[in-house]
Symmetry: C2
DNA sequence: GCCATTAGCTGACTATTATCAGACAATGAC
DNA sequence: GTCATTGTCTGATAATAGTCAGCTAATGGC
């Protein structure tokens, strides 16, 4: 219920300052991300930070990696103040719920969770990006790490069927990222072949964003790309540890087929006919 | 989904003006109600109205009933502008929902309805008021009208057991109103007797506010009053047409008993023991 | 008629939020 | 090294929002 950005919670502090204080978080935050997330003008952000700095709640220092970038961190007092905002927000929520009985409270919280989940899902935006883009690399790192951790054999991206960036770049293929407010939370890629089905690769959804139907949406956009490339079918291989993914492939219309490659990491091979051969696009 | 009071919707107009424009509604609105609902300072409200008047969207005139009171009405242009705000808000909502599939949309709308309903329920405030208060009279008028309409015999408030204002005023009894943001949406009263159970009367919840548990809450506050008066039981009589009320009484622990009065309008008599006789309060 | 109250208006401020142009240093490509 | 770009800061200026005291006109009780 954190979205109650009322002036009431701001404790006599301008709402803008309270928002910044909140958004910095306990681990600090780059000023540019702060600006992006709060949609602040650069001048305004600077002034808000200056004012919070003057109040002793925040310290802003240059990043060591890139000295143009400034990083805002809460001081001890700032952390206390933020905790207080948190507490106030909780108290407000509690007082809102107070007149309800237990049943109604459970219902309300359940419904709010559903709303939040679905609004989050609705905020997901899928964009095609270059397979070399830092966001793409970040997704792949997370993907590989998860594969390595979940499969019993461990995963080596170098082994098996290749999916180098240039193979996932149009017209050879493409790479999609699912963004949640400019934060990458999932990806998927496809590699086209002449005369044989396109090959779906690198399907991944961040742990934090599962259950929102992101995988399904990425897959369906990849299928659209497959059709655009002229291919009529898509196929993919996957490890048996990825049970949710396998279930999703099945429910999206993929049928298990005999191994079509010798990917050592795969246990299941799937294929889906997207268009009858020779039918119009 | 009208609560999205984003600056985005305000169409280059200050948010405050847009809010006033919206709140005036198509039927016009007294300036004081406007101020109350939007929590505006009197000066600020005046200026906003002046500015909207200058833009030709609103006309403000004195009320004929009380010439101190001013009533704001939308002009033709104002109505058009308001419709546009409405449309924008709908479009925004639609674009938010756009990425979701039908199933998810249904889920989201269902959950939002639940949230709205329960937050409304949580905003209900029950206050003890004088039985002669205009709000009390308003409730009673609505209550009598509904009884008259729903019962097959028609209802005459003059007939049957009395419940005059003085009988519903402490210490003889009390009258409660359930307010939803200063709008009365339900009521209930109790009439105490020496040596016999208190008599619950005038239980009513406005059509528009049913299903929020208001009746149950009013009843339970009345029971608290009964205990405070020193009585140990509460009883009530009711017409067979009021099926929801009867179900609510039963589920609140009232048991049907033999008629304890000769109220001609009643078909069912209920009683509930609130405290063992002689037990401490 | 007298007087307290109510509803609203105006003037005088202050605070907050928003915009824009220009300055400056750091960075990275060449 | 040059140069375009990026990230931030400052000054100037508005627009919007919020507050307060004092004023007027109506109203209703007496």
């Amino acid at each position: 219920m954190g979205a109650l950005n009322d002036r009431f919670l701001a404790r006599g502090r301008p709402l803008g300052e309270a928002r910044v204080l909140w958004e910095i978080g306990s681990d600090g935050c780059e000023v540019r991300t702060l600006r992006m997330r709060l949609e602040l003008d650069s001048g305004q952000a600077s002034r808000l930070l200056r004012s919070l700095e003057a109040a002793g709640l925040v310290r802003v220092a240059s990043s060591s990696a890139d000295r143009r970038v400034r990083v805002a961190r809460l001081t001890r007092a700032g952390r206390a103040e933020r905790a207080l905002l948190d507490k106030r927000s909780d108290e407000l929520a509690a007082s809102l719920l107070d007149p309800l009985d237990d049943d109604q409270r459970d219902q309300l919280l359940g419904a709010m969770r559903v709303v939040e989940r679905l609004l989050t899902a609705a905020a997901i935006e899928i964009r095609q990006v270059d397979a070399n883009h830092p966001d793409a690399r970040q997704c792949l790192r997370a993907y590989f790490a998860e594969l390595d951790q979940r499969s019993d054999s461990g995963f080596d991206p170098a082994a098996g069927v290749s999916a180098e960036p240039h193979e996932l770049t149009p017209p050879a293929g493409c790479f999609l990222i699912a963004y949640l407010r400019s934060e990458p939370v999932g990806c998927g890629a496809v590699k086209h072949h002449t005369r044989s089905p396109s090959h779906i690769k690198r399907m991944w959804v961040s742990q934090s964003a599962r259950g929102l139907g992101i995988g399904r949406r990425v897959l369906s956009e990849l299928e659209a790309q497959v059709l655009l490339s002229g291919a009529t079918s898509a196929r993919l291989d996957t490890n048996r540890a990825l049970v949710e993914a396998i279930a999703m492939y099945r429910s999206a219309g993929y049928r298990e087929v005999a191994p079509f490659n010798d990917e050592p990491f795969a246990h299941h091979w799937f294929e889906k006919r997207l268009r009858v051969r020779g039918a119009p696009l």
